[in-house]
Structures are given as structure tokens and as C-alpha cells.
Symmetry: C2
């Protein structure tokens, strides 16, 4: 095996995260080399808008600045490719075509194309930055919890949603006002669909659950409900019960290898560490049969934190490339998939739920009667809203019961954990 210390890197993408990645590699190169013995040198920067950024001072010492992807694909001198393009097309082309190990932060690409990307792949993909920014949850799950049967993984994975929910809770504000404020401050996109409808959270959950349960999870198997239809009353009601609402991504495995994988607003108890995670922070709890509950908390987004994850991944890839094939750290943390795994429909899983909806035609009694077969823990009417706490029931039964009385489109359902 060739002995080397220096690894040449190509960075594809020079937006927010790309810039901070270049900055971290250049500014902290000495620290990194003293720690690891590995020197990362950026040889090439690719950007579709390279003409606009050519004069950036961090790019001075970088040999190749290009808008031609082939300058990365055809350069055998490059050891590691860092993909921070975002989007699907170019990123996917790069990941499929390159013969080099790749670091990527592209959760949408991974969640949608994991099977395709790893099939017949000869080189590594590392993706610590794709979930929860700087929090080293991927390495922890792939390398630190190898002897655990991971029974449950759940977390707050989207800073925008958590910022909105925290603000509603702490300042008694309505969803729409907080969303607008978040958009003004740059915490939420002009089109916030991806975030508030839970899609981004589900992309990350797809990655985490694939590692936890040792199988490539299809994104379309994930049940997804976001926070778009939450109202202040939900938060007030939860808080009266001593509970806090968070958008939780969860993957649960039962003893028969049935997995339930879902994103849903969730009422958390005060003694749950995740109930304390506020504003744009992310956190993940992994429940292992040996380790018990381990919680990882930190900055889930932002260029600087994300660059920390990207650069440590580059070091891991450099080391991993020196290990004989069979014993390398596997891309998704398993060498043999769990064939017995069955992903079930969350709508059929019994849990405790909080349900709220509005009816113009019927009264509380009508719905109480409709829930006759369901264990009703609490029921009340407030500001024209009917609110229920239902125990040991599944979403399909809830909807079915409500529809026996009336077809209602806007039903807010939150799991109680």
C-alpha cells in the first residue's frame, strides 16, 4: 500500500457550505495535520458560477477553479471529492461517475437514491454532514454502537421547524406570525414547504433508519406529517399537560423486526432531554439494547458547523481507503443487510395521540360517541376546536371514527411519547 500523508481534495460547490469548507480546511490545516497526520490540500474547486467567485481570497492558492465537472472526474491526482452542490442532477452525476471516495452533505440525494448510489460502488461515500450538521451522529451509529441492537432512534432534525415551535411555545405566538418572522430573519425559506411539511426531516430520518436497522429504507415508506396546521391552542394544551411539542423523526424496531418510520409532531415529557432542545438546535436520541439512551445535541445547520462534519469525513475516508475491503467501515454501517426487516405502516401502529379538529356541524358529544371503542383520556372544546387525548390507538382508527360523524380535512394529530 502506498504510504502517503497528503490527500488532494476537490470541492464541488461553492455556496454557503462550500465556502466554509474551504475556509476550515485552509485555516485549520495545521491543527488537523497535528491531530491526524493527514494533510488535506484543496486542488480543485468546481462551481457553476466560478467566474463570480474567482477573486475570493481563499481561492488564491487553489490550482484549479472550474465550471467543468470533468476537471474533477478525469483528474486521477484527486484523492477525495467533496460534494456540496446541493440539488439533485449535477450532484448525482458526480457521485455516480467519480471513481474517488466522496463526502456529501446532500440528504435529499441520499434519501432518494441510496440504493442506486451504493449498488456496485467501488469507493466510499461519507455523509456525516447530511444529518444534523456538526453532530457526529453518523459516525456514532456506524462505529460506536456496533454491538447494540438499536431499538429506537428519534430526533429533532430540522432547525426551521424547531425554531418555529420554540418561538410559538416561549412567546405565545401563532404559527403564521412566527413563520413570517423566521423568513424575515433567514431561518426559513421563502417557500418553506420542504421544512414545515417534514420532507427535510424525513430525508434525514431515511438515512438514520437505514443505518440503525441495517437496510436501505425506501423514502416512500416513511410516514410524514409536518407542522403546517399546528395552532397556538395545541401548544397551550400540551403545556397544560406538562408536555412540549416538537417535530420528531422516529424509527422504532420491535422484537419481530417490524420497523415503523415516521415524522410527526410529538408531545414530549419534561424529563425527555429532547423537550429542552430549543430554536435552531438539533438533537438525536439513540436507544440501544446495551447503551440505553444516548443523546447527541448540537448545531444542525450553518456553514461552519457543517464544514466540521465534512472535513472529519474526509479524514475518515482517507483512513478507510487504507483498509482491506472487507473490513472497511461500510457506507451505511452494515456489510450484510437485515433481510428480515419489514417496514410497516405507522398509521396502523398503536400509540397515544393528541387530536384536534374543528367541526361546524357537530358537538363534542358526537365525537366522544364516535370514539366509543377508543380509550379517551381527555376531551374538550376550546375556541371552537375539539381536542382529544386518545390512548393505545392508531391513526387509521382515529380518522375512521371521526369520519363516521363528519368528513373533516384539517385534523391535527400529534403522537404522545
Amino acid at each position: 500500500m502506498e504510504k502517503k500523508k497528503e490527500f488532494k481534495v476537490a470541492v464541488a460547490g461553492y455556496g454557503h457550505v462550500g465556502k466554509d469548507t474551504v475556509k476550515t480546511i485552509i485555516e485549520n490545516n495545521a491543527i488537523m495535520e497535528k491531530r491526524t497526520g493527514i494533510k488535506l490540500t484543496i486542488k480543485t474547486i468546481f462551481s457553476r458560477n466560478i467566474d463570480k467567485v474567482k477573486d475570493d481570497k481563499f481561492l488564491d492558492k487553489i490550482e484549479i477553479k472550474t465550471k467543468d465537472l470533468n476537471d474533477i472526474l478525469n483528474d486521477d491526482d484527486i484523492d477525495i471529492v467533496i460534494e456540496v452542490l446541493g440539488g439533485m442532477d449535477t450532484a448525482k452525476e458526480l457521485l455516480i461517475k467519480t471513481k474517488k471516495p466522496v463526502v456529501t452533505a446532500n440528504k435529499a440525494l441520499l434519501a432518494n437514491c441510496f440504493g442506486e448510489l451504493i449498488k456496485n460502488r467501488k469507493t466510499d461515500i461519507a455523509f456525516e454532514a447530511s444529518v444534523a450538521g456538526a453532530i457526529p451522529i453518523i459516525k456514532a451509529m456506524k462505529e460506536s454502537l456496533v454491538s447494540d441492537r438499536m431499538e429506537n432512534v428519534y430526533g429533532i432534525l430540522n432547525g426551521t421547524c424547531n425554531y418555529i415551535l420554540t418561538n410559538m411555545t416561549k412567546n405565545n405566538l401563532d404559527f403564521k406570525d412566527v413563520l413570517k418572522d423566521a423568513q424575515d430573519k433567514g431561518y426559513a425559506e421563502a417557500d418553506p414547504t420542504f421544512d414545515i411539511d417534514g420532507i427535510d426531516t424525513a430525508h434525514k430520518l431515511c438515512i438514520l433508519s437505514s443505518i440503525a436497522f441495517c437496510n436501505v429504507i425506501s423514502f416512500d415508506k416513511i410516514f410524514i406529517r409536518g407542522i403546517r396546521n399546528i395552532i397556538l391552542d395545541d401548544i397551550v394544551f400540551a403545556s397544560e399537560m406538562g408536555l412540549t411539542i416538537k417535530l420528531i423523526a422516529e424509527a422504532a424496531l420491535d422484537e419481530n423486526n417490524n420497523a415503523y418510520i415516521y415524522v410527526i409532531p410529538t408531545l414530549l415529557n419534561d424529563d425527555n432531554m429532547l423537550s429542552k432542545v430549543d430554536y435552531a438546535f438539533n438533537a438525536i436520541t439513540v436507544v440501544g439494547d446495551r447503551s440505553g439512551d444516548t443523546v447527541f445535541y448540537g448545531s444542525g445547520a450553518g456553514g461552519r458547523p457543517t464544514s466540521s462534519a465534512i472535513v472529519s469525513d474526509a479524514v475518515t475516508l482517507a483512513r478507510n481507503s487504507l483498509i482491506t475491503d472487507e473490513l472497511r467501515i461500510p457506507i451505511l454501517g452494515f456489510v450484510e443487510e437485515n433481510k428480515e426487516l419489514q417496514v410497516k405502516d405507522f398509521r396502523e401502529k398503536n400509540e397515544n395521540f393528541y387530536v384536534r379538529f374543528k367541526s361546524n356541524n357537530n358537538n363534542l358529544l358526537a365525537f366522544n360517541e364516535a370514539f366509543y371503542d377508543i380509550n379517551i383520556d381527555k376531551s374538550m372544546e376550546r375556541n371552537g376546536n375539539f381536542m382529544f387525548v386518545l390512548k393505545d390507538v392508531n391513526i387509521n382508527s382515529i380518522i375512521e371514527s371521526i369520519e363516521k360523524v363528519e368528513k373533516i380535512d384539517d385534523i391535527f394529530i400529534a403522537k404522545i411519547k
Copy 2:
């Protein structure tokens, strides 16, 4: 390089942690092999009391059960040694003499002998289990935060102290009563000195700070104050200020490479995640210049959680043994030490402090006057105790000022963070 899948393991020590390590390796071997491609086989068990445990059902399939350390030291067939003996003498002999990579959970040994253990060493030592049980903080610091300048690492590292403080806080109990209860329940040793005087916490801090600051930290450079002289009034007073008292181990690095490394009761703000860490749980916050604050929380002790860390270390050692020397993960997370690092005396570091003591001879006014040069934020007398909140001052000045009035032995000092 020889291609292998199976790594033969010797487990030295068959107490609490040793038993659970054997159990985890045997019970979860299939999971682990599917994840990693690596099969761990326990060949040898060493225990000074092996005659007593020979009939244990988990030992049935293990080839060698011995009370002779040479059966490990002289067996070339063994690939990895797991040291869970505890204590110093035999453990040290094993770590020094073995030519194989070693996993150890022995924080006291590491903190006191790190320099000696790694000097001229040809094989690896892994020690995830030595700090905070199942929490993968060592791997995170050594591998995930390689591009960060780690500016501060602080944590709750001793479950016994945290159990006592949490119980005092939640149930308004006196230190002595809670300690006795903890001893009755097995959470505290009959001789609790190691825990409540902060020694165990300092051992773990020694390990964490060595990694964070890239140098072997001498244990005797660590300032240590435990919780032995805390009283309920301290907790009540803190809580009236909206603060929670925890025994915090902290290592702080300033921009000039001056490090302050200390264990001291600390008053934490409610928005600090560590203020929410209750009972026997551990948590560590790492502050990096890129990653920001990342918090790791979980089970800090117990056989099962500790075994999770031990077994993942064995896998890491197996992989690491396949990498060319220069690029292996270094034992303490650095290949070149930070020569500029200066460990300074915490007693000279200015911080905000809470101070409480009793005087039979003098009144509050006398001490207020003695603190003339110090910024007094609050001062009061309660149940015969004088309590002060002092700003931007160091411990030496505080003691000196008090002694201008009266020599007092029992002064409780807590940092305010």
C-alpha cells in the same frame, strides 16, 4: 497485509463490567458481524478468582479460563486484549507488557500513567469506556472534531455526585441523608471519597483534556474541589437565582494556548443543556471553533452500557491495526503534541463565583468590607451562613480577602457559568 475477519480476544477481569462485556460479545455477535464484517471471538478469560466463576454459562464456550496473566501475555494467537480488571498493579503490568492492542476502561490508570503507557508503545490503546460509559465522546473528539480548535470541554462525569446533587435539588434533602441513601442503593461506595471529592471526575477530565488540547495532561495539574461540603442552602440559593448546581469538570483553552483544567461545583443557567442532566446520567459539552457547542448525553456507568463502548473499541482497534502506522488513529488523538500548551493554576483565573462560609466571630459587614476590591453582586446571611456572589475574581483573591478577617477552614466555592 493478512486478510482476516475473525479477531481473537482476551478479556482480563471478570467483575461487573467484564461479565457484561463477555455477554455482549456472545449475545450480539451476529449483529456486530453483519454490521462490521468483523467477528470477535473470546479465546481467553483471566480472573484472579477464576475458580469461582468457572461454571458461569457464558464461559462454556471459552477455550481458556485462567488466573495466570502469562496465558494472555504469551499467546500470539490473541489479537486484542480487553482490560477490565480495575485497580492499578495487574492492569498496568498487562498494558505495559502486552504486545497486542488493548481496550481499557481504567481511567485511574490512564490519568496517572498516560505518559508512561504511550511512550515507545508499538500497539494501540483504546479507552472509550473510561469516560462516561456508553457515550462515544472519545471517538467524537479523536475523529469527528479533528478540524476544530476545541476551546472548551466541560461535563458531568460522575454519576454518584450527580445522583446526590439531583436528589438534594429535587427533594430538598441534606447532603448526608442523600449520600447514605445512595450508599444503601448501591449508587455510592462505602468509602465515597473517590467520587464525592472529585477524584474520579478529575481522572476522566485528565483524559478528555489531553485529547482536546493535544498534549498529555499531568493529573497533578488539575484543580479539584468536590461536593463534600455542599449544604442544602447552597442549592436553594442557586435555585433562587434560577441556577442549578452540578459538579462540573472543565478544560478551557484561551487564545494564547493557556489551559485551565479544573473540577468544581458549578452553577449552571437554565438554558445550559447540562443543567437538565439528572441522577446517574453523564453529559459532556465540547465547544469547537467550527462546530460550536455539541453535547453528548447518556449512561455514564453500569456494566451493559460500558460493554457497548468496550466492544466498539475492539472493532476500532481491529480496523486501526490494518492502517499504515502514520495514518492510524493516534492513541490520544494527536500525532504531534501542542508544545505551546501551558497549564495554568485555576486559582488565578478570573470567573464569577458563589462563596459560602460560616463565621462565629464576625458579621456580614466585615466580609463585605474585606471584599472591597471585589465586585460583589449579592451578599446575604442565612442560617448563620454568609453567602456571596462575586464577579470577575479568582479563588486566591477570595481566600485572601476572607483571611484578612478570619481564618476559615470550611469555605464552599462554586463557579458560576
